[in-house]
């Protein structure tokens, strides 16, 4: 995956349209999955994905490989686009129908559906990561939303990421073994 990235980065930095085709084929499912966790409707999600790809294309020359992988960079752009859109939608809904502050105290969507598929990330850790990564809350806002001290929020983020790492490193090792066996 990363060897291929190298070529794509070059194309992207030269503003070559082929870059977007290649990035789209390789990453759009992962990015769309993330967008769908943030915005509630598929129509909006498609708009967000489109907007994100146009941003990726126009910001391509500013991507700095020494600061992180291309995938992480794209994930961040896409996530931020989705969060902005979601906030806009929320403000609009609030203005039009004065609905209840749903989703603030208790996000309904099972954002990181880790419980089922990957190990057991406890609810309390998951919730903190959900609010921060998918809803764009600052750690201070999480403090208010969940009514827990800032120190606790920080340690939960830390533990959640550590647990995620563990889960995925086990999977990674398994995958490598499988690949070796196939060879």
């Amino acid at each position: 995956m990363h060897a291929k990235d190298h070529q794509i980065i070059e194309l992207l930095q030269q503003q070559d349209k082929k870059a977007i085709d290649a990035l789209y084929d390789q990453y759009s499912p992962a990015l769309y999955g993330i967008v769908l966790k943030i915005v509630r409707s598929e129509m909006v999600a498609q708009d967000v994905l489109q907007e994100a790809f146009v941003k990726i294309w126009s910001k391509g020359s500013s991507y700095d490989p020494s600061k992180g992988t291309l995938f992480t960079w794209m994930l961040n752009i896409t996530r931020n686009t989705a969060i902005d859109k979601q906030r806009m939608e929320e403000t609009r809904n609030k203005n039009s129908e004065k609905n209840t502050p749903e989703g603030f105290m208790d996000p309904q969507i099972d954002h990181i559906g880790l419980n089922a598929e990957v190990g057991k990330l406890e609810e309390k850790y998951r919730k903190v990561i959900d609010l921060i990564y998918f809803e764009g809350y600052t750690q201070e806002e999480v403090t208010e939303a969940l009514n827990i001290p800032l120190g606790t929020v920080k340690s939960r983020v830390r533990i959640a990421l550590r647990e995620l790492r563990k889960v995925f490193s086990v999977q990674y090792i398994t995958m490598c073994w499988l690949l070796l066996l196939i060879k």
């Binding site: 977007i20 769309y32 994905l49 489109q50 990564y133 920080k154 995925f168």
Partner: protein, 244 residues
């Protein structure tokens, strides 16, 4: 800043998640120089998130790809058309000029509406001052320093940004807990052995606030005072400090 305090602060996770602001990023990158092994932690955390995204991938409908290609086509075609028009009549130039002005005005209007919107949402920092803050934080002369919690408040911490050249200082009270309604945090600088008032931290604890720059300050200290501040610091309620 030692490694323990830094890890405690949660900045590394914020950086890995891509939600740290420019000043916080700067602090993290300074820590990378001191503790290179932290880079690997970030790589690991990020690859966990990447793995997570890959596992939850959902293919978008094929129409989206076409739309993106069209949009990019449109964006790249637009400037070329103007360039290739060969003999441009004065009328065209005037029309294009007028359009540019109109677009700029619309963009400016949109921008001011956005700012208004932000203000309405209770954000106190306007776009303009935000840019100034970012410029200040990014200035190479701006030194971040961590005010660490005391025995009285071990969990407390705040980041002060100190710029000798610009004679300016700001504080980010990122780890000060909210106080009750009749109390407020106050900052004190030790100047020639005397504690001099360097300003109050707003009760909302907003992220970037100015504080008085005192050229000969030897240390900075934060105490809890009655709302509105005191003439002299209540040393028994010293929550965080740092020697310059």
């Amino acid at each position: 800043m030692d490694k323990e305090t830094f890890l405690e602060s949660g900045l590394l996770e914020q950086y890995a998640l891509g939600i740290a602001d420019p000043a916080e990023e700067q602090v993290v990158e300074q820590m990378f120089n001191l503790y290179p092994e932290l880079r690997q932690d970030v790589v690991d955390m990020r690859s966990a998130i990447e793995q997570y995204a890959l596992q939850h991938a959902i293919p978008p409908p094929p129409a989206v790809k076409t739309k993106i290609q069209q949009e990019i086509e449109r964006k790249t075609a637009a400037p070329q058309q103007i360039a290739t028009t060969g003999s441009v009549s004065w009328l065209n130039v005037v029309v294009i000029g007028a359009l540019v002005v109109l677009c700029t005005l619309t963009a400016l209007r949109m921008r001011s509406l956005q700012v208004e919107n932000k203000n309405l949402q209770g954000q106190l920092i306007t776009c303009e001052s935000r840019e100034k803050i970012v410029a200040f934080l990014k200035d190479p002369q701006t030194q971040p320093m961590l005010l660490q919690g005391t025995a009285y408040a071990p969990q407390a911490a705040a980041l002060v940004y100190w710029n000798e050249e610009m004679q300016t200082a700001m504080i980010n009270p990122f780890k000060l807990s909210p106080l009750n309604r009749n109390q407020q945090y106050q900052i004190w600088a030790d100047v020639d052995g005397k504690m001099v008032n360097a300003g109050l931290i707003s009760t909302q604890l907003e992220k970037y606030q100015s504080l008085k720059y005192l050229p000969n300050a030897k240390s900075l200290n934060i105490t809890i005072e009655p709302i509105g501040g005191s003439q002299a610091p209540t040393v028994s309620r010293l929550v965080a400090n740092h020697a310059i």
